[in-house]
Symmetry: C2
């Protein structure tokens, strides 16, 4: 029912199957209001290639119950992709209570042919601890009742998602996820981060996702409720979210707000559309402002959807190319609070280690490094560790080590003259990996790493430290450092030479010529 096809960091591309229907993750499910269908599911399927939508089982139950049972939810929505139904939990959050039992809602969801069903939960939202505890207890009780009802009636065609509540109280979230792990749900759904997103509290949201992902493991899909803005899509995917829904394309449109991957613009302040979608290619901002409000909202909502689906495709391509981290570094600059939250990711050693373990060993495209932060990427950390463990720490190194600038060629004859011996090893300096043994320099990732000269200059102290460690691990007795014509490499060579000298390791700095 869920198969993982490719991965990068904690993000993955997966294939989700429900009966004969299928969709690819990361999957964005637009919220469809079953009553108004402001933008229809069919339109989304035809124009955006939407493979799934989400709608509200409780609203259907109250207002369209008979028709839904008769026709089934797919026919009613005129959509043949995957339909997920939220249970009405959101109505609990907004209006305090719903007029239906967990059993009623659960059986109704099965009856109307939902593909992915959510039990009636009690969302935590953002609230005090006592209230949060209550919502977790009530949610867990509802889940038991739901599973019992399904078992009793002997129906379970849909995939069932376990809503994880607890909100910003991480220990409650953890407890909720732990309890649900053994209950036999098909996937998990993290509840109610919308207020966090509206308040730009991305760091807290990321922490919540991370806590949950660690507990539920990596086998099953994780859904995030109400992940409203494409700005955060790459981040939540990189943290392991596989699916998410949102109504913001429409809610923002109603507020005359225009969504981009880097933020939100007010329609009355747009002079030029920074977008090439069919809507924006066909109309100018002035023309849009001149339309009737209803038509204007419909067009903004359509653009907002194009923006969301575009971002999903960019994320998927980045996963396939092993460049999800590059995308995060770029998107982190959408807002200072998002940047702050990105820094939280990049300073969380445990999380980085987990990302390292889940990132493939090679990738189709090269690695682009920019600043110090880029060096904390899982791929770089792993490459450095592997160099150390699988090369330098291995026994049997030669006594002599010649260090050449990474960009210089030199004949064996000339090297022999320099060393004054027949037997030596050669490694390259001036790279973000410290020293790269000559025989590995044309392998991944060393040969496919691009970086600015500036970076080497800025982290030269760290690089010297790393190179010294590598040299000590290799047990070399005599180091021959060949200089360079480039000043920054010459400076690096001198620093290394001095550091070795201080440690009593015999080193010899040789002029370029």
């Amino acid at each position: 029912m869920f198969e993982i096809l490719a991965g990068d960091l904690l993000g993955r591309i997966g294939r989700l199957k429900v009966g004969s229907r299928r969709a690819e993750t990361p999957l964005f499910l637009p919220v469809i209001n079953p009553v108004t269908q402001s933008i229809s599911a069919r339109w989304m399927e035809e124009n955006l290639g939407a493979e799934a939508v989400i709608t509200n089982a409780y609203i259907i139950f109250k207002r369209l119950g008979e028709r839904a049972i008769e026709e089934g939810v797919h026919k009613m929505l005129d959509f043949d992709g995957i339909v997920m139904t939220d249970s009405g939990g959101y109505q609990v959050l907004e209006y305090g209570d719903v007029e239906a039992s967990p059993e009623e809602i659960a059986l109704f969801e099965e009856e109307i042919g939902t593909d992915i069903a959510v039990p009636l939960d009690v969302p935590t939202g953002v609230c005090g601890r006592e209230r949060a505890e209550e919502t977790v207890e009530k949610t867990l009780k509802n889940l038991e009742r739901t599973l019992n009802a399904l078992r009793e009636r002997g129906v379970r065609r849909a995939l069932w998602a376990a809503p994880i509540q607890g909100g910003t109280h991480l220990d409650l979230l953890q407890r909720c996820a732990e309890q649900e792990r053994g209950m036999g749900f098909d996937l998990y759904a993290l509840g109610s981060p919308t207020p966090l997103m509206e308040g730009y509290r991305f760091e807290k949201l990321f922490e919540m996702i991370y806590v949950v992902r660690r507990i539920i493991g990596f086998g099953r899909p994780l859904h995030l409720f109400g992940a409203g803005h494409p700005m955060i899509f790459p981040f939540i995917v990189a943290l392991g979210v596989d699916m998410f829904d949102s109504a913001s394309y429409y809610l923002y449109a109603r507020d005359e707000r225009y969504i981009t991957s880097a933020g939100t613009l007010r329609i009355d302040r747009i002079d030029y559309f920074p977008c090439s979608c069919p809507v924006c290619s066909d109309i100018t901002p002035d023309e849009l402002r001149g339309l009737e409000r209803e038509e204007r909202i419909r067009l903004i909502a359509a653009h907002n959807l194009y923006a969301c689906f575009r971002e999903i495709r960019e994320i998927k391509q980045a996963i396939r190319d092993g460049r999800l981290m590059e995308l995060l570094e770029m998107r982190a600059r959408s807002h200072p609070r998002l940047y702050q939250a990105f820094r939280w990711i990049m300073e969380n050693e445990e999380l980085l280690k987990l990302m390292e373990d889940n990132t493939p060993l090679s990738s189709r495209r090269g690695i682009n490094l920019f600043d110090e932060l880029s060096l904390r990427r899982p791929r770089i950390r792993r490459a450095r560790r592997r160099l150390m463990e699988r090369y330098f720490k291995q026994p049997g190194h030669e006594k002599h080590l010649v260090l050449l600038p990474f960009n210089r060629g030199m004949s064996f004859e000339k090297l022999k003259t320099i060393v004054g011996e027949e037997v030596f090893e050669v490694a390259r300096y001036g790279t973000p990996y410290g020293l790269i043994p000559d025989q590995l320099r044309y392998t991944y990732p060393f040969s496919q790493t691009n970086y600015p000269r500036k970076l080497i200059e800025e982290v030269s102290d760290d690089l010297v430290e790393l190179m010294v460690e590598q040299i000590r691990a290799g047990g070399y007795e005599r180091i021959h450092i060949v200089g360079s014509r480039s000043r920054y490499l010459r400076d690096l060579a001198s620093k290394l030479h001095e550091a070795l000298h201080k440690l009593g390791i015999c080193s010899n700095l040789i002029d370029w010529n």
Copy 2:
């Protein structure tokens, strides 16, 4: 003929008029091959809103001369926007020479009704010094001959662009621009950077633009020949380029390469189109690969054009919003070599100063800061300098200065108790501007600046230094620093307290409560 409507950094939005035709800058002119018109000028006008195109006067002269004279270039191209004609200089670069004199080409350009004409020049390309000097001399001679011919015949309907040659030899470039300044051309056109872009030598390209812009001043438009990739558009605009042309949308398409704002993708390696343009919204990568080559190239070229025009609109919006630097910081992460070139901009004091002078004092949207580099932005530098000069260095400050955390309110009564006096000034600390006087905190840019907490932590030493300078400039005698509940602000307060203490300035650190 050229009117500047808005500006940010050295970039501007301008209105270019030729006769009754007009276009807005920054202006991207797609190259139209007059013979094949692979994608027609009319299609570009209708689908992209193209206001101008460029074509080749020499090719028209040789192959379509009579028809062009009879119909005029607009009718021949079936395009009613601005038509710029390159002179054939490119053919000189490629094939060594052209079979036409500067006079012939010049009069032909006028005769076919070109709106923007270029004299027959001798492009430098990337070559040795001697050859470069020769190209500059020949170009200057050709310009004289062109102007003489136009004067003699008494025709000059078109705007005439002076091609600036010299290539990577900055002193030659400078000399060429200086000579041309007095010749009476309507605009300038910097020659032949294509090999630099193909070699990712962005730093050199940026230097060339900067050298030229300084010499020609800011009154007239600057065109850049062959600026091929949207990745560099924001940078060249920020350095003062108003117009640029390129054929790469088509050349890349012919190589099955797909352009994005962040780079180039090979069609055979795309799984998902990271774009929402009408082409990419209508077809999947697999479907595209399945088409006949000719149709496939046409569609890739159309997408590439959508990508270029989208980037232009994003740049214009950024200029209007005063956020061009934010766009650069984001786009600098498209490639390490571009990042390196961006760092060159951010470390060029003279250039930054020039940007400062040309950036408006306020802007419609707030300022988003991310890392240390963001603090080098012209807007930030200027705000800091103005604070110093117009506030702290002004005479008449009180003796007592109370420093509050930027995010804390405190009643006058409480402040009085702390100071033990009736008369004192209040300023805020914990901001990227150092100290902000209380009465200025709700003014631009102070109230509209967003930054991550992390930034304040990372530059705390610099901030302490800045605050000390501000305090000394104000001549305050006694500083009362009120602590904070946040640790990073408490740390900053302690550091400031210590620094003042060391300098013998009387300071008093007051606990939060």
